[in-house]
Every structure is written in C-alpha cells, then in structure tokens.
C-alpha cells in the first residue's frame, strides 16, 4: 500500500509541468554555480601558489641584510584555498587571505575576496552550497505543499478514504514518495558537485568530508519534505498551503539567519578597530620594547640580566644584548597580541555558540555551519590560519633574533646574512584540522537535525490524521 501511494506521489509530481521546469532550472543554476566557483577557485589557487612562491623567493633573495633588518623587511603568507572551497565559500569571501608578517607587529589579514568585487556580491554569491541550502528547499516545498491540500480540496481524499485508506498510511506513502523523488533528484547534484574534487585531485580526506556534507544535506532536505507535508495537511487548501510554505522558507532561510547574526552581535559585541588598537597599544607599552632602550621595562630587564651574569655592562655579556632585547621585546609583543587575539576569539566563539543555539530554530543555520566546517571555509579555520601564521611569525623572528644574539657582537648592526641563511629559514604551511577531529563536533548538529526530522514527521502525521475529507 505504501509503495502504491509513494509511486502515485512520484508519478503525479513528475507529470506536473512545474516539476519539470523547476528541476531543469535548478540543475542549470547548479551547473552555472559549479562552473563559476570552480573556475574562480582554480585560478585563485594558481594565483595563491604563484604568490606564495614569489613571496618566498623575495625572502630568500632579499639581499645581504642584518637579520633584524630582515625581520622588519617581512614576508607574506596566504591562506590556502582548500579543495572544497568551490562548493561552499563560507566566510572566505569576507575574511582576508593575505597576511604580512614582520617583527614586533601582528598584522591583520587583508584582501578579502569580496573587496575585489562589486557591492552586490555582499548579498551572496551563487555557489553550489547556495543552490542546495537556499533554493533546493524552496523547490522541495514547491513540490510538496499541494500533496495533501490538493487531495482534500479536489475531493480525491474523499474517494481515497472511502476506499478504506487510513490517513496515516497516506502520510507515510507521501513521505516515501517525496523522499524517493528528492533523493533521485539530488543525486545528480551530488555527483556533479563531486566532480570539482576529481578535477582538483583532492586527497581522500576531502572525499570523506564531501560524503558527510551530502549526508547532512539529505537530512536537511528530509526536514523540508516533512515540513511541506505538515503545512499541506494543516492548511487543507492549496492557496493557504502555498502561503504557508513560502512564509516558512522566508522565516527559516532568510529571516532567522539575519536575526541570528544581529542577535549574536548584540549579545557578544566585537570591539571596533579603534577600540582593538587602543587596547593593544596600552598593553604593548607595559613591557619590553626592543627598540626603546630607555624604557622602564628595558632598564629593569637590563639590570636583572647584568646581575644574573655578574657583569657591569652589556658589552661583557656572553651574547649580543641587542639580539637578546629584540627577542624579549618580541616575546612581550607576542603575549600582548595573543591576549587580544584570544579576547577576540572568545567573542567569536560566543557568537558561534549563539548561532548553534539558534540552529534549533532553523535547520538552515545548522546546515550552513556544518557545510562550512567540513569545507574548511568556516570562521574556526580562519582563526586557525591566523594562529598558525602568528606562530610562524614568532618562529621566524625568533630564528633571526637568535642568530643576532648568538652570532653577532653587541652593536654590530653592519653585520649581514645572505641568501644561504635566508633560504634555510622555516617555511609556512597550513592545513585545516583533520576530519577525525571535526567529526565529534558534528554529532550535536546531526542530532538536532535528526530531531527536526522526527518532530516535523510526527507533526505531519498528526495533521494528516486530522484531515477531514470536506
């Protein structure tokens, strides 16, 4: 019986003109999004690889310099473009992807992708994830809103119930039919979406990530199948059901995400750039400054170091005082930057937890977070990149100051190092967290989505059982 109704649901839907038009339009849109973003990211990946190579080349061939001068000369690092970025851009468009590393300063990332583009880009970019998270649910709602309402309004329900059909059987048959149809429809989208990984020659980890993304999407679409049937049975009339599903889509996919962003900003406000800089400068002044020998903190450290070594002058120290003080200053600055960064990260963490809590009210928010996390285009990956870049900066400057401290005499600012030395300096590399680390974090959104699926399913069943044939 269930299969009969499921088959009938599929047949009835497929034979409708709107199904054919919408599914073809959606597939074309998805192909455009896929081609557009893949092409863009492929060229961006090439540009990044070239820029990284160029930056390293500049560093190694900067000429003969004093190591600390080289630290001031600085270098660039770039946030890598990960293989799934073409599928879901996440926050990549809005966060800087280029970082200038230099002594004493922890700079902010610059050159967000959206900066290069027209203002309308900020409204959202057509990506495969955009089509699947925002438009595909609308498509499902359009397919499902009339299922029960049309049966009731047209009088078919009367005939069906008179045949001895139970409303619950009708509901499960409709659920089965729409699930089968949606799975069948989404399969080409998933296969086409995976082609980007093939072309990018992505490692196995990214295939698993993509598989999990697909799994979450299936659950997400299931929620909309159940919601469409629930509203259809609740409304009982086609027009009311249409208004109902459209209102739901606007609420879940458009209003709630914006409301959540605003609520997160209100509940966990981020400091302005000026406030951040002021706090930074205040903390920086309360410690050693390698370039200010007259500062109280430098003088105090000098007295302490001389006493430790039992000498009267920095000339008598077994190492180069300049290199030592530069590194001490660097260490203080690192602590200050790390402290401010931690404060900021805490605020973002609180904002993210607000997003996660609001995920209970909108599967869209939930799925978006999961998709970005698996594609490694989320805020957490961005902060990991900043943290990795900062660690690299400390390491690199440490190598340079260490060389100055150990291998140069005090006051020898004319001493230099050449290409051989700079070629041996550490290089920067950054990889997102492995999937095994991310998976445990996905359990909670998985359970919430499952909860949505069960609750909307039971709700649909409830309203089907209350369906009156007239």
């Amino acid at each position: 019986m269930l299969l009969t109704i499921a088959r009938h649901t599929i047949r009835g839907t497929v034979r409708e003109g709107r199904f054919r038009v919408l599914s073809i339009a959606l597939l074309l849109l998805f192909l455009c999004a896929l081609y557009g973003t893949y092409d863009y990211y492929a060229s961006l990946r090439t540009q990044h690889a070239q820029a990284s190579e160029m930056a390293r080349g500049q560093w190694e061939n900067q000429g003969d310099k004093n190591p600390h001068s080289a630290a001031h000369y600085g270098t660039y690092v770039f946030k890598p473009i990960f293989p799934l970025a073409y599928f879901d851009r996440g926050v990549d468009s809005y966060t800087g992807n280029t970082l200038f590393l230099e002594a004493h300063r922890s700079n902010q990332a610059k050159y967000a992708l959206a900066q290069d583009q027209v203002a309308t880009t900020r409204l959202g970019v057509l990506t495969p994830a955009f089509v699947l998270t925002l438009l595909f649910p609308l498509f499902i709602l359009t397919l499902g809103f009339g299922v029960a309402a049309t049966e009731r309004q047209n009088g078919n329900l009367r005939m069906m119930l008179a045949q001895g059909l139970r409303p619950a059987t009708l509901f499960w048959g409709n659920v089965l039919g729409l699930w089968a149809l949606v799975l069948l429809l989404v399969l080409p989208f998933f296969i086409l979406g995976g082609l980007g990984l093939v072309f990018a020659g992505a490692p196995g980890d990214y295939w698993w990530r993509y598989l999990f993304i697909c799994l979450f999407y299936v659950l997400y679409f299931g929620c909309f199948i159940h919601l469409a049937l629930l509203i259809s049975a609740w409304a009982g009339r086609v027009n009311t059901a249409l208004v109902g599903v459209l209102s739901l889509w606007v609420l879940v996919c458009l209003v709630m995400p914006r409301f959540t962003v605003d609520a997160a900003r209100q509940l966990a406000p981020t400091p302005s750039w000026q406030q951040y800089q002021m706090a930074l400068q205040k903390d920086l002044k309360e410690g050693v400054d390698g370039h200010d020998p007259a500062s109280v903190y430098t003088q105090r450290l000098k007295e302490q170091t001389l006493a430790e070594h039992g000498v009267d002058s920095v000339h008598q120290l077994p190492f180069n005082w300049d290199g030592f003080i530069m590194q001490k200053g660097e260490e203080h600055e690192t602590l200050v930057y790390e402290k401010q960064r931690q404060k900021l990260a805490e605020i973002y963490k609180r904002q993210l937890s607000i997003h996660q809590i609001m995920g209970f009210t909108s599967p869209y928010l939930l799925l978006k977070g999961v998709s970005e996390r698996l594609a490694a285009t989320d805020v957490a990956t961005y902060f990991s990149f900043l943290s990795a870049a900062e660690k690299y900066r400390i390491q690199l400057v440490g190598e340079l100051n260490g060389d100055l401290r150990d291998n140069f005499k005090y006051g020898d600012w004319d001493g230099t190092r050449g290409q051989e030395f700079y070629s041996n300096n550490s290089t920067f590399s950054f990889s997102p967290r492995p999937l095994t680390e991310i998976l445990p974090e996905l359990l909670s959104p998985f359970l919430v989505l499952l909860g949505w699926l069960v609750v909307t399913g039971l709700g649909g069943l409830f309203f089907y059982q209350r369906l009156r044939p007239f």
Partner: protein
C-alpha cells in the same frame, strides 16, 4: 442442514445497510433527525429530497466521514463508528462529482483506487470493469483531463465495481449525465441489485428512482417523511405528486 438454511437465509435476506434512530446535528440544527432505514441485499433504496433535506449527510454518516450525534449506522451488521475500516471494505461509494487525477488515464485511476482498497487486478480485468461501467477500452488509456463528466463518472462506477463490495452508496450519481449514459447507468444498477448488492442512492431524479429503486424514501428537514416499496404499482407522475406534496 437447518443451520445451513438459516445462514443462507440470513445471507440472502439479512440487512446490509441500516440506520437506527440516526441523528446528526450541527449545534441546534438537526441535519438528520431520527432516521431509521434498512436495506437488504438485492434492494436499491432511493432517498429523495430537496437540497438540504439530509440525503448527503446520511451518506456521509454511513461512510464514517461524519460522527453521528445519536443513533447508530451499520453496514453488514458492523457499527461504522466502531469498525470504520472493516465497514469501508464492505462498501463502495460514488459521489456526485467523481474527483480523480487528471494527469492519469482512466485505467491508471482505476488501478490506483483499486490498490488503495487492497485489490491488485490485472489490466485485462480493469479494462473489463471499465467496459462494464460503459467506458470503451480505447478511452481507458487517455488522460482523465480529456474526459467529459460522464466519462469520469463511468471511471467512478468502475472503481466501485472493482471493489467488489456488498453495498453501494451513491450520492446524486446521474447528475450531469446525458440521458443515454443515465439509462446505461440504470441498467447497471439493475444488474448489481440482481446480483445481491444493497444500494443506497441519494437523488433528485424522481423518474430514475421510480425506474430502478426497490424502495423509496422521501426526506424533508432531516426526517424521513414517506417510505414506499416500489412494486411497480404506481406511476412516476404519482411519485412526483407525493414528492412535491412532501417537500
């Protein structure tokens, strides 16, 4: 032997469709008021009455679509309120406007509704039901969207036939049918009653009622005002006069 005879008599002469003091009220308004009727196998009971007399409400109560306010409705001895699914297995229903799926063919509609009733008929058998209902095989494969009202009604009849039910509930079944189709339909009803089916038909059509009914009841304001057995001992004109006098 005696027991077999008793069982046989009960099967042949027992009551298939029965209303016991059936009352259906909406607030203070009684749509059906204390209705009592019994229809045995092989009988066709026509409920006549003006719009709002309570004919369709009575049928909806038999279908279990409306809960009764008081009294009982029984199909083959089973209370509709207590055994709704068992009851529906025993009855077929044909509404005034048969609402089927316009994107499916007549054959597909029949197949689908038969399956919902738990029957899996072969195509040849389905075509036979359609033909018996008056729809030629050539039309059976066409989409229902292209059908006239009469043709749709025939598919509805085929659905009722394919269910192989003991009782048939008809709500204004000939409304909108052309005279030829109505005549065919009457013939079919005669065949079904001859085969032992119990039929309850709500209609406005006095002449059709006189033509096919074994029993006729005239309703007004929810009450059954007149009941008569159609032994062919009165003319349609006399029935019309009684009807007009009653309503």
């Amino acid at each position: 032997m005696i027991l077999r005879l008793i069982i046989a008599r009960n099967l042949t002469f027992g009551v298939m469709i029965e209303a016991q003091a059936l009352t259906k009220a909406y607030g203070g308004h009684k749509a059906v008021d204390n209705l009592n009727l019994k229809i045995a196998p092989g009988e066709l009971y026509c409920l006549l009455g003006a719009n709002g007399a309570g004919k369709t409400t009575t049928i909806n109560c038999f279908l279990g679509f409306l809960p009764v306010t008081s009294g009982r409705v029984l199909i083959d001895g089973l209370d509709v309120a207590e055994k709704p699914l068992e009851v529906k297995r025993r009855l077929a229903y044909l509404p005034e406007v048969v609402m089927l799926y316009p994107t499916l063919s007549g054959l597909e509609n029949l197949d689908y509704f038969s399956r919902l009733a738990g029957f899996r008929h072969r195509t040849a058998q389905l075509l036979e039901y359609l033909e018996r209902a008056g729809l030629p095989a050539a039309d059976a494969q066409r989409r229902l969207g292209d059908y006239s009202k009469g043709m749709r009604q025939k598919v509805g009849i085929a659905i009722a036939l394919a269910k192989e039910a003991k009782c048939l509930l008809l709500d204004e079944p000939t409304s909108g049918l052309d005279p030829g189709a109505s005549n065919d339909f009457s013939q079919l009803l005669r065949e079904l009653t001859a085969q032992g089916m119990a039929i309850l038909m709500a209609t406005h059509d006095i002449f059709r009622a006189k033509d096919v009914a074994t029993h006729i009841g005239i309703m007004r304001a929810g009450r059954l005002r007149e009941q008569l057995e159609n032994r062919g001992d009165f003319e349609a004109k006399e029935l019309e006069a009684l009807y007009l006098q009653t309503v």
